[in-house]
Symmetry: D2
């Protein structure tokens, strides 16, 4: 299904970095969800390059909701949002024609598509496609708002420096909405930004690790085989360019624990069932247990760097050197955070719809909220 993901709620994306437009079709959403352009704008603004440490390519991201919204509410029909490409300069891409950028998709796309791929700016493989995902995510989040499901992502690590973890997750998520740079501890943010600027000066790049929390998912959604919450979320997350690892709850650290430590004990607390710890990331047997769903993603350093690199020239069939000109980010980890939020929102809508059906926002009774 390639560019479409989701069972009941599905997302299809299209477009190339330097083509006419990119866009998304979000299908299967309930009718009657209030959609304000402002919501989409704000989500896009989070993904947009900004500050001294980002690419100088200015992406205006003027979007148009082409279908599926009528009088400000979703109609139940597919919601198509198109973002025209504007500030596009393809001259630089001609130069490296034949020379494959390391750790990019140039070579694999060339083999797969027999030389017919749109190579300009990574074409359909460009991180720019994630802007389309962000617009769809804003719509999905509008539905989740109605049932008080909150999603937030910060960088728990970037450029080798750590942020603090989620403490009061609800407050932290609210707080992240107003931050330019998705790091909870402002002092850590400052240091990280300095490291990114340093990488930029070195014509190099850095990566990071994101941490996401999803609050108020009702207990009992998800599946054992083969559609565990972990399966459905990781499927989506691993399609985001640059993500090379996904872990839920304690993740890789759980491998070093003993069962007596790692087991999350249940208890009644204020009449509700909770677990004393949450090493499972809110998921037992693939199904939500009512605790926050938490996961982390490993984001690789941007492969586009200004340093001269060894590579191959597939036109000449020989080894070659390449200095990528163009405009690129010394770090994309912070820009990936809103993309993770967006895809998570879409997949959570899909997961809810699998259990509660088309009108999940009307059927879910928030009396069970934790």
């Amino acid at each position: 299904m390639r560019n479409t993901i989701g069972h009941n709620v599905s997302l299809t994306i299209f477009g190339e970095s330097h083509g006419k437009a990119i866009g998304a079709v979000l299908d299967g959403m309930p009718s009657g969800i209030r959609i304000e352009d402002k919501r989409v704008e704000e989500a896009l603004a989070k993904r947009r390059p900004r500050g001294t440490f980002s690419t100088s390519r200015v992406e205006k991201d003027e979007f148009e909701i082409v279908s599926g919204v009528f009088n400000g509410y979703t109609t139940g029909s597919p919601i198509c949002i198109v973002i025209p490409n504007k500030d596009v300069d393809d001259s630089v891409y001609e130069e490296m024609d034949g020379r494959m950028r390391p750790s990019h998709a140039d070579y694999t796309a060339h083999v797969k598509y027999k030389g017919f791929e749109d190579y300009r700016g990574g074409g359909h493989f460009s991180g720019r496609l994630t802007a389309a995902i962000v617009t769809a995510g804003a719509v999905a989040q509008a539905a989740l708002d109605e049932i008080e499901i909150k999603i937030g992502t910060h960088l728990s690590k970037c450029a080798g420096l750590s942020d603090r973890g989620f403490a009061d997750a609800e407050k932290d998520i609210d707080c992240l909405k107003n931050k330019d740079f998705p790091v909870l501890d402002d002092k850590a943010a400052e240091k990280i930004i300095k490291e990114i600027e340093k990488a930029k000066t070195n014509l190099d790049s850095v990566g990071g690790i994101s941490e996401t929390a999803v609050l108020n998912i009702p207990c009992g959604v998800g599946e054992p085989f083969f559609d565990s919450i972990e399966s459905q979320l990781s499927h989506a997350l691993f399609s985001i360019p640059a993500i090379k690892g996904v872990e839920f709850g304690a993740g890789f650290a759980i491998a070093d624990m003993t069962g007596s430590t790692a087991n999350d004990r249940f208890e009644y607390s204020d009449g509700r069932i909770v677990t004393k710890t949450n090493y499972s990331g809110g998921i037992n047997g693939g199904i939500s247990n009512g605790m926050p769903v938490t996961f982390r993603c490993a984001i690789k350093p941007t492969p586009s760097i200004g340093q001269k690199q060894d590579t191959i020239d597939i036109k000449k069939n020989e080894n070659a050197e390449l200095t990528i000109k163009g405009r690129h980010d010394p770090c994309i980890a912070h820009r990936v955070c809103p993309v993770i939020d967006a895809l998570t929102a879409v997949i959570v809508c899909d997961i809810l719809s699998q259990t509660y059906g088309l009108d999940f926002t009307r059927i879910i009774n928030r009396g069970d909220k934790k």
Copy 2:
């Protein structure tokens, strides 16, 4: 799609730990693949508990190929393999009825299925279901043998102790076939087994990290959005009970690297295109680049431990204590390895079929082998 995974090649599983049988239906495989019972038996033997450090439940795993194989070859029709449940003792499960085992699916299944779930031995959530996956994987691997694709998994870490990494991956994979315990370094294996035995004595359990290599996947298979090789493999892997993290190539470690280090430079070597490093795990932009596809999985410690644990009693609606009797493993990490191999084989067949069609084993020309 719940218990079915895959686009063109699909796997459906069914059964409960203490029901009549478990089984798998593998559909979409090419016709004409030689299937010997011995292959399936060997794969099941790898997953079977053994040694002093495993459950004393003896799982005979007598399987029957019910359909899809005729005169020793696949017919192209769905291959159903059934494994009857035999050495089954449900008396112990009655005792804890109402008391939810921590970090098990007892509670989430209870909420999702309204009390109608088969709670005996974890029911459909039992690790026993993975035996069905292993039989399907043996069939899938038989097809991959024809095109020289090799898959092997060892424990790069278990009980806090490390194994060496893959060196000559092809040799290492062959070597793993003859090992009782999937650790490359025999001395490390000894130490790990001692730690597992210690955990058993403590009525506790340990986890581990697996490492898998898939060799000879042709360059150009997989997709950018949303069916990257990482997406398709992680979707499958995260449905294996106990897996809480999946990372490809350098994985989470790549977050700390700079782009100038992490980028995998291409070069011509003996006339073939390779990369000097393989931090990308053989995948660029979701598509195979011809290098080994490598990934690691975090396997949590078995949640069934003999120690007394706090929990809830959902029949009495109160906090309670629970001592799980039954028979269980102090470690399942080593038993998960053949399950990872099996699911990987199925998904690789599916990915190949997406590019090469139904008869992928006939179409793939192994001249491109790396």
Copy 3:
């Protein structure tokens, strides 16, 4: 997805006519549905050959519910039902090896599966596979019973002779349950059976047209594009061997009407919204309008006939003659009716689940019943 159909509720089938067993896996059904073996037995009995006009092959159809049912209720896990093959005689099939039966799948299967197909008795293409569908349908119908959805199929035409149409559909459906031969008018049944016997004497076969009504589907389920109720049902129905046409409501006859005749006017009747006519078959724009969903299927005459027929011998690469021995039905149209009921029940469960979610039987409020 080949042998699996359905989005949320899915059916997978496996097996060959002369293999060890056939079977079905029904997944995604709500938990807590009462399943009695008797229901499955009765459904199978309807499909079984009987009377003077049927094959003499005695199919015992002893089935086993292997998984997904616990203490007499569905658990929410996949329900696998296996039917072992017993009264199997493959001697006759050897004789025609190489000579392709006209209008059978012998030739197409041979090309598709390169000679590895199980050719005995049609293998996976055999009508026998529909027994597996019937068992799954019995389970699906048990769920539909809880929300008063009734499904019934009779032969509106067979061997060139007509039955009367549905009058009081609810009564007629109840009445069909107790009939050996699914024709509403007993006199018509008698005449039809005589025609079938005549065909048998002539070593020939006859076909027919089935008519199905589905009562009490709630208004508002189904989709416009591409999952209209017509789309989802026809997809399933056209996989039944022998079905070559499907029409909803007035079907092909509507092509000759004018809009002023064909339009189904809405009106309030006893406080409920109905249409004065039902030429649309209960579906407007792919979505149920609350009226009975009605459709007809064209069932071709059994292609296995005793007369000598021209054909090819693909072993000798020459034209040949063939006299099919074996045992076969001079008419299968009446035996297809319970298969249509069964597949319809499965697809209706899936369609309901798309709108109402996993627990559709608990959520649908039968106050809206028509």
Copy 4:
């Protein structure tokens, strides 16, 4: 999956009759297919209302290929084509607000989408959406051209009058390309057009039956259960508004035949395997046998008629009368023909891709052409 259809090659559509635009995303097509705007224009022209017997709404259908085509060739990435809505007049729709048009989706959409649906001109249920399908079909057909697969549809019946059937199907299909009205016999066309004009004068409408032939599908594609060629095609066809019946080969007429007549005998002819008759419509057991794939669709008379009709007013909860003003066609049967061609082309690409993989145009060897 609602607005997305297809396994390997998939089509997603979006838009509403009176919204900003409609469009299609065609994904999974091979790279390197030559796409000329002219091809898309010609296909759209066939669907456009024309002549005295059509709606006076002028649909300009200026389309834009937004993605997936680079330098005139498909890239392998999703192809999005957008058609802005222009000559839009929604004043007339306000008038009937609350009064449900008979045999339209007004009422079912209202129930399903709780009053949030875009009711203007049928919204997402409008036949206008089929223009998006036509653009995708033009791209799919461009791929099929490379392997000489031809698709053509004529009206075998319209307004109660018959056209002749296909004779030399290849010639007939070529001939249909240059016809304004898709009827093979020019005299029949004249008579039919007169009947349509008469219906228009009567403020009424007429329907018809289409007949389609697909030539040169290789033998051996398609599946038995549940993805027979009939299943996959009918699924798509029944999502076209107005289609209420689909039959393959002899279709409903086969029900009256005997097996000895209906069976298609195989024979060697000029060294190739053919059948002497083609009552099976080129499909045995769900799989192509190399003969032309043929089918017919029942197209209902346009439900929008100018006569006063009884209906309900759901705002007032009472019976009402309705005279639809707006602009509408007295017949859409001829305009459905290019939509059938288009959807068929898309589904045939998908079916080929299931067997031959992504690069089906490169792998299929037309030496087997019949």
